[in-house]
Assembly symmetry: C2
Homo-oligomer: 254 residues x 2
Amino acid sequence: MFDMMNGVGAHEVIVESPDHQWEFSESPLHQIREVLIAYRERIIDLQGDKRFRYTLVFRNYGLRAGASLAHPHSQLISIAVMPRRVKDELKAAKEYFVEKERCIFCDIITQELELNKRVVAENEHFVALSPFAARFPYELNILPRQHCHDFTRMSDEETWGLAHVMRNVLKRVRTALNNPAYNFMLHTSPYPIPRPGRPDYWGTIEWDFHWHIEIVPRLTRVAGFEWGTGFYINPVAPEASTQVLRDLQIEIKD
Amino acid sequence: MFDMMNGVGAHEVIVESPDHQWEFSESPLHQIREVLIAYRERIIDLQGDKRFRYTLVFRNYGLRAGASLAHPHSQLISIAVMPRRVKDELKAAKEYFVEKERCIFCDIITQELELNKRVVAENEHFVALSPFAARFPYELNILPRQHCHDFTRMSDEETWGLAHVMRNVLKRVRTALNNPAYNFMLHTSPYPIPRPGRPDYWGTIEWDFHWHIEIVPRLTRVAGFEWGTGFYINPVAPEASTQVLRDLQIEIKD
């Protein structure tokens, strides 16, 4: 019982550019798109290892966001168990689907576009918004308009749209908040069934889940209250941060 | 649906000493004990407000732990809903109890004392240990030897024991890690039933839960992987940190 478990997994560092000063928000669009395509290719490749249940892609930028290398990079971790937070999100999405027979993320997109108080940016393929119950100041979600549970199924045209919206909002965050540290995390579906173990684990995932990217600027510190409760104190209303980000005049080349 | 919720709650700052330089690990025992008794009295007093389900006591020490005031203080927050992390812990403890008809924390104490690889300090009433699956380097739990679900039921004699063990381990942490920032959080039972709403919510809590204190030195940064998965990467084995803390020669007056 007290022995160490043997581990299996993959951890990859995706070096985004040979240029040490490169950054998402300042990059030509095609370079960002290449990074996104690298995410896609690595996720697909690692799917070949049947021991992996999930691959998480994330980016830690700046010391306060936990970056331990200064050179521009993203990371990817494949794990053999379903992560707890992923499970919670999938479960909640499924419960909503069972109740309403609609995808909760599609409903959020429709409502937010109609209300238009928390939409920071949009283009033909993507919407960037401040979540209604944002845990952190200036937290952002980026979602594809077209329902899809799996990041790797993004069309070529959509990759341009995603590069465009990511550069746009990261530029706004950088300008408004003086180049803050941030994390972003890709939330996509686990590797498709059948996998060994539980073939019916997420039977309706194609309909009930909707991939998205979470961006969290690191402005506040998680402390005793957050660790003790799992609740978050956010001193900035999402409507207020949306206003700030939306009203910014930003200059983007190309 | 998009209106703000009205809030109800309490947030109190417990000023621990008039001395700006005061710190748990350097204090005479009776002063620490008075702080612990203040926790107890405030939790009991706030129980009078039937809208509150739970009171969390915590301490953020140092900038990296989220302390926004330099003067020595603890904090207390009473909330009208059960915190998610508390619920998860209570639920896991209950499941173990249903399975084994024993308290999981009592079992951990027995096993850890027998194995004696992760016990950092102990006295007549309390045990301080590094959790088997510590999320953070040098994370510590302090548990009463005598089974009890509710911090406020601690006997007068036990308050001396708790003050003693807390000072001991916080002194070890301070010495070993060069005065690091840390958080500690009290995990105690929610306010007793009957409360309005769900009278049978935690029917067996007296038997299945065991209050304790979690101490987390802030040495690593929570980043994309942790936010994305809810899993934690801990570069220090708990057996190794235990060894370091246990082997320290510390000098305590009184």
